[in-house]
């Protein structure tokens, strides 16, 4: 899962001064200390990033040497219906994931933040999906969703015995559900942390004003969680754009192209069709979209930070 994070806390100028060594003394650690980090990051992250852009203009089949191909790849790839479908699917996955996971995680987070003892026990269990690797989850679900021997047979519910993974109309929804199963626990943890930070005084005041549970949720909890929502959404959206592992093992992009989202399309184009140039074009698209979304969401949360969450307390 690729990671994006809320903007770093920019320290106030005064703090910065106090931390820096007083002028006239040593100028702090030499830049060499950051050398290894820079070298490793540069060679294995930055160089490949530039490499992807360069490769997108080249033609390489994995066997010989890359050969210059100009803008050929770009035209071909962007016109390719499979890639266009992949972009459409990625958009669907991103939006629907958000629509499914955010409310569930939010409500769960609020639920888990409650002080009842049984909720603490439940929280420990809720965390379990996060312990599994994506491959493990995908494999388990494949067995679970087997139309002949899976969950449907177990519970005796025929509706559950459909061809979940083999039917092109159902496969995408299955994928969305399994992704949600994996990641709702994570986001609910974020929301739980967020809710725990809301001061009790706000709720007490509301109670005095006669606000019901629902009203408290809508007028206090939700607004106070704005920052958490942004963080969780950023992670969720950027994660959805680049999600690969689970879908690869669960459906491998199939049936047909029903679950062939962009990262999967890139992998299959590169390592099954051996059209590395075209795959690099898709990769560049991924990077550009990822960067744009990250920056946009950063800006959004950046402007939010002007207002205090504690207004009116």
């Amino acid at each position: 899962m690729s990671v994006a994070v809320a903007p770093p806390r920019v320290p106030a100028a005064r703090e910065q001064e106090a931390r820096r060594p007083a002028p006239g003394r040593s100028r702090g650690p030499s830049l060499w200390m950051a050398g290894p980090a820079l070298v490793l990051f540069g060679v294995f992250a930055v160089v490949p990033l530039l490499g992807v852009v360069v490769l997108s203009f080249m033609s390489w089949d994995g066997l010989g040497d890359p050969v210059w191909a100009g803008a050929d790849n770009w035209g071909r790839t962007l016109a390719d219906p499979v890639t266009q479908n992949a972009m459409r699917l990625t958009l669907i996955v991103t939006v629907v994931s958000w629509l499914f996971q955010t409310p569930v995680a939010l409500l769960l987070g609020v639920f888990m933040a409650g002080r009842q003892r049984y909720r603490a026990v439940l929280s420990v269990l809720y965390f379990l999906p996060l312990l599994f690797s994506a491959a493990a989850v995908a494999i388990a679900y494949r067995a679970l969703l087997d139309p002949n021997f899976g969950l449907g047979t177990a519970l005796g519910v025929p509706w559950l015995s459909q061809d979940w993974v083999g039917d092109p109309d159902l496969a995408l929804w299955v994928v969305l559900f399994v992704i949600g199963w994996c990641f709702v626990p994570f986001h609910s943890l974020l929301y739980q942390g967020g809710v725990r930070q809301i001061p009790a005084t706000m709720y007490e005041a509301a109670l005095l004003d006669g606000a019901g549970r629902v009203q408290q949720f809508l007028h206090i909890t939700l607004p106070q969680l704005k920052y958490t929502i942004i963080t969780s959404s950023t992670l969720m959206i950027v994660g959805s754009l680049t999600y690969f592992d689970l879908i690869f093992v669960l459906t491998n992009g199939g049936p047909g192209n029903a679950t062939r989202i962009l990262p999967l399309d890139m992998y299959l184009t590169g390592f099954r069709s051996y059209d590395m140039g075209k795959a690099s074009v898709i990769a560049v698209v991924l990077v550009v979209v990822g960067l744009t979304v990250s920056l946009l969401l950063n800006r959004l949360s950046g402007s939010n930070k002007m207002e205090s969450q504690m207004e009116g307390v």
Binding site: M33, L63, P81
Partner: protein, 435 residues
């Protein structure tokens, strides 16, 4: 001064880190192991099918050459296809490269990944069925040699299932459609199809196209002629495929049936399905999983039905002429020598031939009729042998014949065709775009 010490120590640390990095690079292929490229004599082979024959060959080599043992890594079919090409491209391939000839071999040759095998295959060449051996030659030079049985695609059926439903073995396409209807009413899946693996679906379009239009149709595709995929024969073939799907010929959940698990043949020998169109490589699976059915004659096999008004010779076959060994050009000279000697002494040796016959597989060797007659199980081998020997044309599976990108597009579009997501015109259009 603090500053100078800081800078100097920092520089030292940085230098050490970089040095460690370079050492790691130089240290290179540590847990890469002998089965990877490099110096040792190595091979990657496929599990299932004629695995035992290969194992016997490797063992035989190892006992004859204890100081030059071959190290083998075993793969399932789909997993193998996933990794081999990247391995070759990375210069990390095994010495003996298992392949299906066709487009991939052509790519290997074009990029200088495999060596000329002419001198070590002279003797073997004389014993091979020519049409099979031809596949390993590019412009007259031998780059790949057949290593195992020849595998035409055959229509297998469970006689008991057919009898129970009152179905006769079809010889024409229309009879097949009738059989499908009858079997469906009887509650069985008429034809098992491993839709999840996708490549089994190729057999249908291959045979239908050949029966309708003859081998020239696909040859045009191979030659890269513009619009070759829109040939009326292909359009009719894809139309018939959708006709079969709509008639419920393949059941409801063929999209989840996987060939690597032998799920499609399992449907037939457990009586849940009547027919399966598969390569003769599945016969050993039947023998292993349902020996009673095979022995009692309950497993039937026949040629693909003809299509009325079709131009193709009904004796043409499709499938894999064989599987081949090539020798990696990136292997060390010693390993290459070992590989060549392995080829001349072990491949399709008398022992290997017998091993194949024992499991009902048919080696692509000329003049085997008498030997086959002597076997315990003669019907299937003589049937297959006759097919291959007498076929005017043996079409290599399309996904192997085509270059990688086209082959992948073919599989993708074919899968969508079977799933009803695209229609015949869209299929031809999409495939034409790849030419």
């Amino acid at each position: 001064m603090t500053l100078r010490i800081g800078r100097r120590t920092g520089a030292v640390v940085a230098a050490v880190s970089v040095a460690a990095l370079l050492a790691a690079c130089g240290g290179g292929k540590q847990p890469g192991g002998p089965a990877a490229g490099g110096d040792g004599f190595s091979a990657w082979a496929l599990t299932g099918g004629t695995e035992d024959m290969f194992r016997a060959q490797f063992d035989s080599w190892n006992s004859a050459h204890p100081d030059d043992e071959i190290s083998v890594e075993w793969f399932a079919n789909d997993a193998y296809k996933e990794k081999i090409r990247t391995a070759v491209g990375a210069g990390n391939s095994p010495t003996l490269i298992y392949n299906w000839s066709g487009g991939t071999l052509a790519d290997y040759v074009a990029n200088g990944n495999v060596v000329d095998l002419g001198d070590s295959t002279a003797e073997l060449d004389e014993r091979l069925i020519p049409s099979v051996a031809e596949n390993g030659k590019i412009d007259g030079t031998t780059y790949a040699v057949p290593s195992t049985h020849t595998q035409p695609v055959v229509l297998y059926y469970n006689q008991e299932v057919l009898d129970a439903a009152g179905v006769e073995v079809p010889t024409t396409y229309d009879e097949l459609l009738d059989a499908v209807a009858t079997l469906k009413d009887d509650g069985t899946i008429p034809i098992a199809l491993a839709g999840q693996s996708v490549w089994p679906e190729l057999m249908w379009i291959q045979y239908l196209t050949d029966r309708i239009g003859g081998p020239e149709v696909f040859q045009a595709v191979l030659d890269g002629k513009e619009g070759a995929w829109s040939d009326p024969a292909i359009v009719e073939a894809t139309t018939r495929i959708q006709e079969l799907v709509k008639a419920g010929a393949f059941g409801d959940s063929f999209g989840s049936v996987n060939a690597d698990q032998n799920a499609d043949t399992a449907l037939v020998h457990t009586g849940k399905a009547g027919f399966v169109l598969q390569g003769s490589w599945v016969y050993p699976n039947f023998m292993e999983a349902a020996p009673d059915l095979v022995e009692s004659g309950g497993l039937g096999y026949t040629t693909f039905p003809t299509v009325e008004g079709g131009a193709g010779d009904p004796d043409n076959i499709v499938g894999n002429p064989s599987n081949f060994w090539s020798v990696s050009a990136d292997a060390s000279p010693e390993a290459q020598e070992s590989a060549k000697e392995f080829i001349s002494t072990q491949v399709l040796s008398d022992d290997a031939v017998q091993d194949l016959l024992d499991i009902g597989a048919v080696p692509p060797i000329v003049g085997l009729e008498d030997t086959i007659e002597e076997q315990a199980d003669t019907d299937h081998p003589s049937f297959v042998y006759g097919l291959v020997r007498d076929a005017p044309h043996f079409q290599l599976s399309w996904d192997q014949a085509l270059p990688a990108a086209q082959s992948q597009a073919l599989l993708d579009n074919l899968s969508q065709l079977f799933l009803g997501q695209i229609d015949p015109e869209q299929f031809s259009e999409a495939m034409d775009a790849t030419l």
